[in-house]
């Protein structure tokens, strides 16, 4: 019995971690900065591939994952400077441009590296509860998701950079007139968002098959979590991921993965219909009244 109960908790934690880690970078780039980043999945793929490549060059897994994270962050900063910069406040154009980036990255990877790439075995083994066996590494992913939420909260709510970044996102011209170097803030924020996407890829690299189109496996979940969370990344992402994880892990357990995926998307449609500004909009209105 305790095995069954733990199994539900474990499934929930697994889905929650996946949603949070997929969405964290996008929450900054789309939720805060307003760039509809269709290349988000390719930032994640970048994290996966660099992690795997550096791991097979002999780096320990944790260092390889740091490399994957940093590589995606660097790619993000360069991309922001080269193509994203003119697109702030032009969401539809940003969609088109990043879709182009996504296609180039996917097809480029296919052409250069081929259709498969050596993977990494899942580390840390397993543990038993009751009659069931669970992966220890999935628990590490859950802890990492909590860590990412904490990191994003502290960075944007408790640091000078965070105050300047939020000011820039709310009113860039006024922030500039108060001496905030807004170009640098945009580049850094975009880079941090891309690095968090890279971290997601780095963390999931040991659990996945490496193929050039793997970004697509993350992007739907990332977008629905951010949209359900609403405009305030710091307030919205965690409750959105929690609610969606309960729905999905419940449906997964009772009806299987396919119904879980369908149920998740139906739930998203219903939630957005009832709460058009997402959980954070709803929470903000409640605390204001």
């Amino acid at each position: 019995m305790s095995g069954d109960l733990f199994s539900y908790v474990y499934q929930f934690a697994d889905v929650f971690a996946f949603l949070v880690l997929s969405a964290a970078g996008l929450a900054i780039i789309f939720g805060m900065m307003g760039i509809i980043n269709m290349a988000h999945g390719e930032f994640i793929m970048c994290g996966v591939y660099v992690t795997s490549a550096t791991y097979h060059m002999g780096l320990p897994l944790v260092l390889a994952q740091a490399c994957g994270t940093a590589a995606a962050g660097l790619v993000g900063v360069v991309l922001e400077y080269l193509v994203i910069r003119p697109l702030y406040a032009r969401p539809l154009d940003s969609l088109l441009v990043t879709l182009g980036v996504s296609l180039i990255a996917t097809q480029g990877t296919l052409v250069i590296l081929g259709s498969t790439f050596p993977g990494i075995g899942t580390p840390l083994g397993s543990f038993d509860v009751g009659v069931y066996t669970f992966s220890t590494y999935r628990m590490v992913l859950f802890a990492a998701a909590i860590g990412v939420l904490g990191f994003v909260y502290v960075l944007f709510m408790r640091t000078g950079f965070g105050v300047q970044a939020r000011a820039t996102m709310q009113n860039a011209a006024m922030a500039r007139a108060l001496g905030v170097p807004t170009s640098r803030i945009y580049a850094l924020s975009f880079g941090i968002g891309a690095a968090l996407a890279g971290l997601c890829g780095a963390l999931y690299a040991p659990t996945m098959n490496l193929i050039p189109t793997m970004g697509a496996g993350f992007i739907v979940e990332a977008f629905v979590t951010v949209v359900v969370g609403g405009a305030s990344v710091l307030l919205g992402t965690a409750p959105a991921a929690a609610v969606l994880a309960i729905i999905r892990s419940g449906l997964n357990a009772w009806y299987g993965q396919v119904i879980g995926q369908i149920g998740l998307l139906i739930a998203v449609i219903l939630i957005v219909r009832v709460l058009p500004s997402g959980f954070s909009g709803w929470l903000a209105r409640r605390s204001a009244s």
Partner: protein, 235 residues
Amino acid sequence: MPMPILEVAGLCARYEATPVLRGVDLVVQKGEIVALIGRNGVGKTTMMRCLIGLLAAESGTIAYQGRDVTRLGADGRARLGIGYIPQGREVFPRMTVEENLRVGEMIGRQRGAVDRSRVFTYFPILEERRRQLAGTLSGGQQQILAIGRALVGNPALILLDEPSEGIQPSIVQMICRVLRAIRDDLGTTILFVEQNLDTILTIAERGYVMEKGRIAAEIPRGDISQSNVRKHLLL
């Protein structure tokens, strides 16, 4: 003759295809409170945006403390000590009063920030409301916050666009008293755009009258009187 803190010569600027400033010349001395007056649509707000650097000058020069800043961005000008309080306040609505002030403080660090407690003595309401979201403040309180936010950065020159617009008279009077106190205590120079006769008469020491994107007249020191100002506002 002391060095002017702000010297503008032949300044031209346009929005899209429409020329708005057509060769503005004006000079502000250190420690002065100067009004920029004129009817709606003559280019006063454009002038302010051009001075802080949010709108690029097409031609002409802006010199601040003897240094040509015409090609410098707004953030660079702010770091040199120009404070900007825009029309409509433009506080950061989803940040608290305290966080709004923090944004202003960061640039002041290099030049020695004005202590936040000093701003709170000018505007006690900001201390009372410091944890409130700025977007939930009344118009008058937002104006006070916008002034406080510029002030904590310790600017040598404050550009202030229509401080009295849409604000109840008692708060306007209080703001005028504080602006004068700021100048007297800290030596801050103030250039402000205004249509409200009382505000102009209360604090302006000198004035420029704008018409069709140019300075049409100067009201010299001692000549700021009801009849003089009214003539230019109503013309």
